[in-house]
């Protein structure tokens, strides 16, 4: 069991072209976990080799709605190597766990294997065997019979109805319908996004091992403490008895934050057979074992005057959820804040369909919301004959139109200016179909994006060891976004040691607790916590140096000392100059340890538990006097073949405001990753449903298309952010989710400019354009 250790010195330095030292906060230090991943040394959760490991394989429902009549396990049980066949009747009983808000659950048993079928691909049984192959073979022998009932396939199903009104989503001011009716220019259109899937490289899976009533789970996780809480509640053991280990994550995109039913199956199986059990989803199972992005529909109506100044926005949204779960994809989130409007109304319904409960996928809510409003304002621009960039500036929201508060920082105007300049927007010919290169119609589109700054409290341990090196510990995680790297930078800068001397340990729930790594909050939360812990360690170090009689500085009677490059000296350089290791030796200490957390001072143990294992204590982004968001503007060129309808993105320039960047190189990669995912969303990604069976049929990566390198042009990203003291301790705002928001509408707008065809249903596949 390797707990993960990474030394900064193993990776190549970033260039320090901006003048910042690569290893200081704000420097372009390369990913410190890069070499381990590239050489294969990085051990992912399910790669652990454990003594006595058994293998579980899931059996899934082949109908979308109905009841399990019977499960015949006889031939599976007789199959070689089979240790146990789990069905709803034979699996141990679990307790229902609380949700991610920590809401007290109903006091009833929980069974991760279903008798009542509410979607195709639901787990109904599992086989545990000595080898993976034996488990696969036996799983195919489990014979499940069903009593099938008609299913509600999707939002367009006649049986789906209008759904449930989610009043908490309603946002209204002024009199939007009346102002719309009175407006001289009116546009109204419907925008749809399909089911989309996170499709991480590393499929979901875990190894679960019980030792008495202690459970260890090796599982890729965006939230160790939250998942540990769920496991603890399911199995009715103390939270402290559950250890989650997740040193690396092969992509999450929102899908790995919660303990899911397959985890309950594996941990139950391990308990039942008294051996560690490994369960890994097949790629097809990753399309039904947990939820992707819900399909959405929105209507956006905008009333404006002839100069394109918005008078009213009326927005209605619908997203699908499952038959017995609730997922709300907040569709009015961008609609309500992007543009100034005196009159506004947004409402949302949720419709139950026979699907797995949808889940979080990069920028849930903001992403589809932006597709609606950023397409609609483009339509308005053409309607009134104003440049799409100009109309956005004309309706610029000088404050948060919904919260009616000042923006903490909003560098969106700067983003428009910088992006337009780099892209050459002023050379755009306004008319659709007016730019071409041979058979290629060329279109230029713009759209804005935003994502709220989600804030929470964090905790970290910083240790200065006898040899002068530094350890940072946190149960937060790195799923590729660069946590290892920026926390090393933060500790190095705060303590005055080279980043080479910092070891960051993450991904073990035994470490200092951490909340969810989602909503682009982790960097802001954790740099703040590490900064605090490191500051307190530094105070201890300096305090010892000044006050300990054995210290070489004792005689100096200084009231402070400076630590730089791992050495301690007096501010004026007139006293001794010793290394941290030498100082610790002289005062007879083998370490200094400090825990830092950013919780309010009077927090109780219960507050802490709640803070790290639920999202109930997240700080609202409109708390206090400010409204806090990240912002971006995407300028995109597409080439559409006039005969074939194929769309290729040929140029992207995006300017983004994520506040201060802790590491520009990593932030740029995150932004680009988001933009690439946005290109996939705009042009390729869609779960395709067999309506008779209620089943997604393109449930593999040959048929569910994500972009390849050949689909991605050079992407230029420009940082226009400034430090935002209201958003985080060190001035950063969110990075990870921002980049995807607004990409799909920028592409759809460019496609309209190229072809004169407005595509309002994603993805924009070729048959929609020929």
């Amino acid at each position: 069991m390797t707990v993960h250790n990474i030394r900064v010195g193993e990776s190549k330095r970033g260039d320090a072209s901006d003048g910042t030292l690569a290893e200081a906060v704000g420097g372009r230090l390369s990913r410190v976990d890069g070499p381990a991943k590239i050489t294969g040394a990085a051990k992912y959760a399910v790669e652990q080799q454990l003594e006595g490991l058994a293998y579980a394989v899931l059996v899934e429902s082949t109908i979308a709605s109905g009841k399990v009549r019977a499960i015949d396990t006889a031939s599976a049980e007789a199959s070689p190597g089979v240790l146990r066949v789990l069905t709803p009747d034979t699996i141990i009983s679990l307790r229902t766990a609380s949700d991610w808000l920590g809401t007290t659950p109903p006091d009833k048993p929980y069974c991760p294997l279903a008798r009542d079928i509410t979607f195709s691909g639901q787990h109904v049984a599992a086989v545990v065997a000595e080898t993976f192959e034996q488990a696969v073979a036996a799983a195919a022998l489990v014979n499940v019979s069903y009593d099938e009932t008609p299913s509600i396939v999707d939002l367009s199903d006649g049986k789906a109805g209008d759904g449930i009104a989610i009043d908490a989503m309603t946002k209204e001011w002024g009199d939007a319908p009346a102002a719309f009716a009175a407006a001289p220019v009116r546009i109204c259109a419907a925008y749809n996004t399909p089911r989309e899937y996170q499709a991480p490289m590393e499929p979901h899976g875990l190894i679960a091992r019980w030792e008495g009533d202690r459970l260890t789970v090796w599982e890729p996780s965006q939230w160790l403490d939250g998942m540990a809480r769920t496991y603890a509640e399911w199995f009715e053991v103390p939270f402290e008895n559950v250890r989650l280990v997740s040193p690396y994550i092969g992509g999450g995109f929102g899908s790995k934050a919660l303990a899911l039913s397959h985890g309950a199956v594996a941990a139950s199986a391990a308990k039942m057979i008294g051996r560690p059990v490994k369960l890994v989803m097949t790629r097809p199972q990753t399309f039904t074992g947990y939820g992707g992005r819900a399909a959405t529909r929105q209507t956006v109506t905008i009333g404006a005057d002839r100069d394109g100044v918005i008078q009213s926005i009326v927005h209605r949204g619908v997203n699908e959820t499952s038959i017995d779960g609730m997922w709300v994809e907040p569709l009015g989130s961008v609609t309500s804040i992007m543009y100034a409007t005196p009159n506004f109304s947004s409402k949302q319904n949720v419709v139950r369909v026979n699907s797995v409960v949808p889940g979080a996928m990069r920028a849930p809510g903001e992403n589809p919301s932006a597709f609606g409003i950023e397409s609609a304002i483009d339509e308005l621009a053409y309607e009134v004959g104003i440049d799409p960039l100009e109309i956005r500036l004309r309706n610029y929201a000088e404050q948060d139109p919904h919260a009616k508060k000042a923006w903490s920082t909003r560098q969106l105007r700067e983003a428009f200016a910088a992006g337009a300049e780099r892209f050459g927007w002023s050379r755009r010919s306004p008319k659709p179909r007016s730019m071409r290169d041979g058979n290629q119609l060329i279109g230029w589109g713009v759209a804005a994006g935003t994502y709220p700054v989600r804030r929470a409290y964090g905790e970290a341990v910083v240790r200065i060891l006898a040899d002068g090196s530094v350890e940072v510990e946190s149960s937060s995680i790195d799923m590729g976004q660069g946590t290892y790297t920026i926390l090393a930078q933060t500790a190095a800068e705060t303590l005055g040691v080279p980043a080479d001397d910092v070891v960051v340990k993450l991904g073990d729930s035994r470490f200092a607790r951490a909340g969810v790594s989602g909503g682009s909050r982790l960097a802001g939360v954790m740099t703040g916590a590490v900064h605090k812990a490191a500051t307190s360690a530094l105070d201890q170090l300096v305090g010892l140096a000044i006050s300990d009689p054995r210290s070489p500085f004792h005689a100096l009677q200084a009231n402070t000392l400076v630590v730089a490059n791992g050495r301690i000296g007096s501010p004026r350089g007139d006293g001794p100059d010793v290394s941290i290791a030498e100082l610790l030796k002289s005062v007879g200490r083998d370490r200094i340890e400090a825990t830092g957390d950013t919780m309010p001072a009077n927090s109780t143990a219960e507050d802490r538990y709640k803070n790290y294992t639920t999202i109930a204590m997240a700080l609202p982004h409109t708390e206090g006097d400010y409204s806090r968001y990240s912002w971006c503007a995407h300028f995109i060129e597409v080439r559409v073949d006039e005969d074939f309808g194929t769309v290729r993105v040929s140029r992207v320039v995006s300017a983004l405001d994520s506040g201060r960047l802790y590491n520009p190189k990593l932030a740029e990669s995150q932004w680009k990753g988001g933009i690439i995912m946005g290109i996939g969303q705009a042009l390729l990604e869609e779960g395709i449903m067999d309506r008779r069976h209620g089943r997604i049929v393109n449930n593999n990566l040959a048929d569910y298309l994500v972009p390849t390198n050949a689909d991605i042009p050079d992407i230029e990203v420009i940082s226009v952010g400034i430090p935002d003291p209201h958003s985080s301790a060190l001035g950063g705002k969110g990075v990870g989710e921002l980049g995807i928001v607004g990409v799909a509408p920028a592409i759809a707008n460019a496609v309209f400019h190229a072809t004169g065809k407005r595509v309002r249903d994603l993805p924009i596949t070729l048959e929609k354009l020929i």
Partner: protein, 327 residues
């Protein structure tokens, strides 16, 4: 557990004999076969690994034509200098197929034999009805998701599209499949589904593809493979065209023309109607576009695949016109 035996063939004859036994299957690069075994479609009792056979990966090209051994890798053939210069359509069909990793593993013999991507065919656990898998069980695709299905050569029993790119180029240039001594035109090697979609090739038990041969021609020398798809790489064709052209001395009048369609039919689809309509004509955009419409004569759609009927003639026309430009 599904046990199977693995046999490494030491000679072509031994391979053929072993493969003649019931439940035996040849294993080449494995990129189709192992995939289908994982989906539960292929359930071999014996795998006869032919990748160690000597001499079957040769590529020989001269003015009379090219002979490509069944074990030559897709990637090697695509990069072969003489294939590129004498048969550009073949090289282009190959490098636009699959991914670099697959092309490095996959063989030419296996490539011809690849199976349809029909999602119902590939998911026996959820869709019992598939005439191609189990004769007489019905067709799950008809009435279901058909975006990728064929519009040409379909039957009531099966509308599955043949997804291969190479065979489309081969059929345009009258290539033959060598099954040892027996030689068959590629066009005859692939069968229409008719009432027996489970039978896809005119290959008998105990036979094995040893090579393919492509006659050299002026049309093959001036040829191209145009593949259209939503994703720029690593996707099967929405529609594709293999086209070769030979002009009269005037450089404008079409002497010889070869046209085959991929991505739209149940087998590699030669379209002689387009060839005949244009032979002897001067290459003009209007004439070419009008003639290209003949490519989809008799096409039948199943809803979501209707776009293929629009798309295919445009792909043919573009490919022909592109070759004209390089005159």
């Amino acid at each position: 557990m599904r046990d199977f035996s693995y046999l490494r063939a030491t000679s072509t004859d031994a391979a053929r004999q072993a493969a003649a036994l019931p439940g035996a299957m040849l294993l080449a690069g494995g990129t189709t076969l192992i995939d289908l075994a994982k989906c539960g479609v292929a359930e071999p009792d014996t795998l006869v690994d032919i990748t160690h056979l000597k001499g079957l990966d040769r590529i020989a090209v001269d003015e009379r034509g090219a002979t490509i051994g069944a074990l030559a890798r897709m990637g090697h053939v695509a990069d072969h200098a003489d294939i590129k210069s004498r048969f550009p359509a073949i090289s282009e069909a190959l490098w636009q197929a699959a991914s670099a990793q697959i092309r490095n593993m996959a063989t030419i013999g296996g490539n011809l034999m690849q199976r349809t991507r029909c999602p119902y065919f590939r998911d026996p656990a959820n869709f019992a009805a598939c005439n191609k898998r189990v004769s007489g069980s019905g067709c799950s695709a008809i009435g279901g998701v058909t975006r990728g299905h064929a519009v040409l050569g379909t039957s009531e029993a099966c509308i599955a599209m043949y997804p291969g790119d190479l065979a489309t180029a081969l059929v345009a240039f009258d290539a033959t499949v060598h099954l040892g001594e027996r030689k068959l035109l590629v066009d005859d090697f692939f069968l229409l589904p008719g009432t027996t979609p489970d039978r896809e090739h005119a290959i008998e038990p105990g036979e094995m593809i040893t090579a393919i041969a492509i006659p050299g021609s002026a049309a093959a020398r001036r040829s191209t493979y145009l593949k259209i798809r939503d994703r720029q790489s690593y996707e099967f064709a929405a529609a594709s065209a293999a086209v070769g052209i030979e002009f009269e001395a005037d450089g404008r009048t079409i002497r010889d023309l070869r046209v085959a369609l991929g991505g739209v039919a149940t087998k590699p689809w030669r379209v002689r109607a387009v060839e005949d309509a244009l032979k002897g004509k001067v290459l003009e955009p209007e004439t070419v576009r009008a003639a290209s419409l003949l490519a989809v004569e008799g096409a039948v759609d199943h809803g979501a695949n209707h776009y293929k009927i629009e798309l295919a003639p445009r792909v043919v026309a573009r490919a022909i016109l592109k070759l004209g430009e390089t005159a």
